[in-house]
């Protein structure tokens, strides 16, 4: 198969995906995550190279699991090699920001009905001081325990009663102004509406009230589902010989990594960039950690910053201007993609599809790199989120992938 045919097949698989939310179970059950194993966002990385918020999140996870009784014990356990670190992506999972997943954490199970593969993501904890931004105080750990003991089992029962097709929800939300990375208000509301009948049949009293209060107050609840749906859509492309389509973009707070369909599971990395954006009161660029998280899987599937034109409110929120600039950004992203998504359509662009299928060749030829919307984590352990903005993927990843593809063009 030549490059053109390989990429046509990649685009066909990507846009044919049918992600269905079917369950919520502990990671140990969902994909056999072993004890003493810690999944993280981005390409592979060892403890000593991790940035402070990633280390902070790991410390919190070790205390939450009961593998370390204190912060000092957790750091000692990690530093002396007592843990196995592995990218979420190697287990079919994705995690926002630090992206830490351990065995008892409940994960959503997404089935790609068109191809039979599955993808996983944890339940989003909310905004502010949360584990994924490196916060690890008692409130953070208590929320994680509640998600494990009450929310995860409830969602599992509700979803086994009735699974939910995510593509129609996502398509509708894109039309309602969600680019699905920094804005998930519409998708979260649509999901809640679809979920409530089963929730009401599986729980009552304080347990139901606690979760409904959480869901009703959580604009970004859908983010992790959008990420897992994107992962489920992209995984069937892995290994299409000769294809130059990007299947993964992910950051671990130190390096940015991409993977490309024609190169299977191989990572191509470059130093990660600093996000630009707007900061919460009391914080500024000097407080920011470099870019992190698996959430760029949303851009990899053609949403997030790639679809900025559908979400002018986000363009303003992340400091990227208004509607005209949002449209200009999406038009620019069309220069590095192979097609338009047949289901995700942008009202401000006469219902054109979102740009989909990032082509390594076009990125290198034009020098235009994908634009990613992102939260900004504090660079110190325990601070949490300090702002939101956007960041460019580093060109070096794409150049390295191009070299590998040219060396073995299938």
């Amino acid at each position: 198969m030549n490059v053109k045919a390989a990429n046509a097949e990649a685009l066909r698989r990507l846009t044919a995906a049918e992600p269905v939310l079917i369950d919520c179970v502990p990671a140990s059950e969902a994909f056999g995550l072993e004890p003493q194993t810690v999944l993280h966002a981005g390409p592979p990385i060892e403890w000593t190279a991790m940035s402070p918020p990633v280390q902070g999140a790991i410390v919190g996870a070790l205390r939450y699991e009961g593998w370390a009784p204190s912060e000092a014990a957790a750091i000692d356990l990690a530093a002396r090699g007592g843990l196995r670190f592995e990218p979420c992506h190697h287990r079919g999972a994705v995690g926002p920001m630090a992206g830490i997943v351990t065995g008892s954490m409940p994960v959503f199970v997404i089935l790609n009905r068109a191809f039979g593969n599955r993808a996983y993501a944890t339940i989003n904890e909310g905004l502010g001081r949360v584990l994924r931004y490196g916060a690890n105080d008692e409130n953070v750990l208590a929320r994680l325990a509640w998600l494990r003991d009450e929310v995860g089992p409830l969602l599992g029962r509700a979803l086994r009663r009735k699974s939910l097709d995510l593509r129609p929800i996502m398509a509708q939300a894109v039309r309602m102004g969600d680019e699905m990375h920094q804005r998930n208000i519409a998708a979260s509301a649509l999901l809640a509406r679809a979920l409530f009948p089963s929730l009401a049949r599986e729980a009552n009293g304080p347990a139901l009230t606690r979760f409904v209060d959480f869901l009703g107050d959580h604009d970004q609840f859908f983010l992790n589902l959008a990420m897992a749906a994107a992962k489920a859509a992209l995984d069937p492309l892995v290994g299409i010989a000769g294809s130059t389509v990007v299947t993964t973009m992910a950051r671990n707070g130190t390096e940015f990594g991409i993977r490309v369909a024609g190169c299977g599971g191989r990572w191509f990395t470059a130093p990660v960039n600093m996000p630009q954006g707007l900061y919460f009161p009391g914080f500024g660029p000097e407080d920011a950690n470099p870019d992190m998280g698996d959430s760029a899987i949303v851009e990899t599937v053609g949403l997030g910053g790639m679809a900025m034109a559908t979400s002018p409110a986000v363009a303003r929120f992340v400091g990227a201007g208004g509607l005209a600039e949002a449209i200009r950004i999406t038009e620019e992203m069309r220069e590095i993609t192979l097609g338009e998504h047949p289901h995700f359509r942008i009202p401000t662009q006469d219902d054109r599809g979102t740009p989909v299928g990032i082509d390594v060749r076009r990125v290198v030829a034009t020098g235009i790199t994908p634009l990613i919307n992102t939260g900004i984590a504090g660079r110190k352990i325990g601070v949490g989120q300090v702002g939101a903005g956007f960041v460019r993927a580093p060109l070096g990843c794409f150049t390295a992938a191009l070299e590998a593809l040219a060396a073995d063009p299938a």
């Binding site: 198969m1 030549n2 490059v3 053109k4 045919a5 990429n7 000769g242 130059t244 060749r361 290198v364 030829a365 034009t366 020098g367 150049t399 191009l402 070299e403 593809l405 040219a406 063009p409 299938a410």
Partner: protein, 66 residues
């Protein structure tokens, strides 16, 4: 003597690449269409050669079958 005198008709320009030329001409009242173009891979000949190897229509080893 102006250019228009030399050419015998109004000057109309298509400018490729650097926009400074287009802006200068526009400032002088010349009708200009600017095309935002740059050489592939920023003009890096090694990367341009790799891009050619992976071209849609000229892929080495490609069987050209659909």
């Amino acid at each position: 003597m102006t250019l228009e005198t030399v050419l015998g008709r109004p000057l109309r320009v298509i400018n490729l690449g650097l926009d400074a030329f287009a802006l200068e001409l526009q400032a002088a009242g010349v009708q200009v269409v600017h095309v935002d173009w740059s050489p592939p891979a920023g003009g890096d000949p090694r990367l341009a050669a790799l891009l050619t190897r992976l071209d849609d229509d000229d892929s080495p080893g490609g069987d050209q079958e659909r």
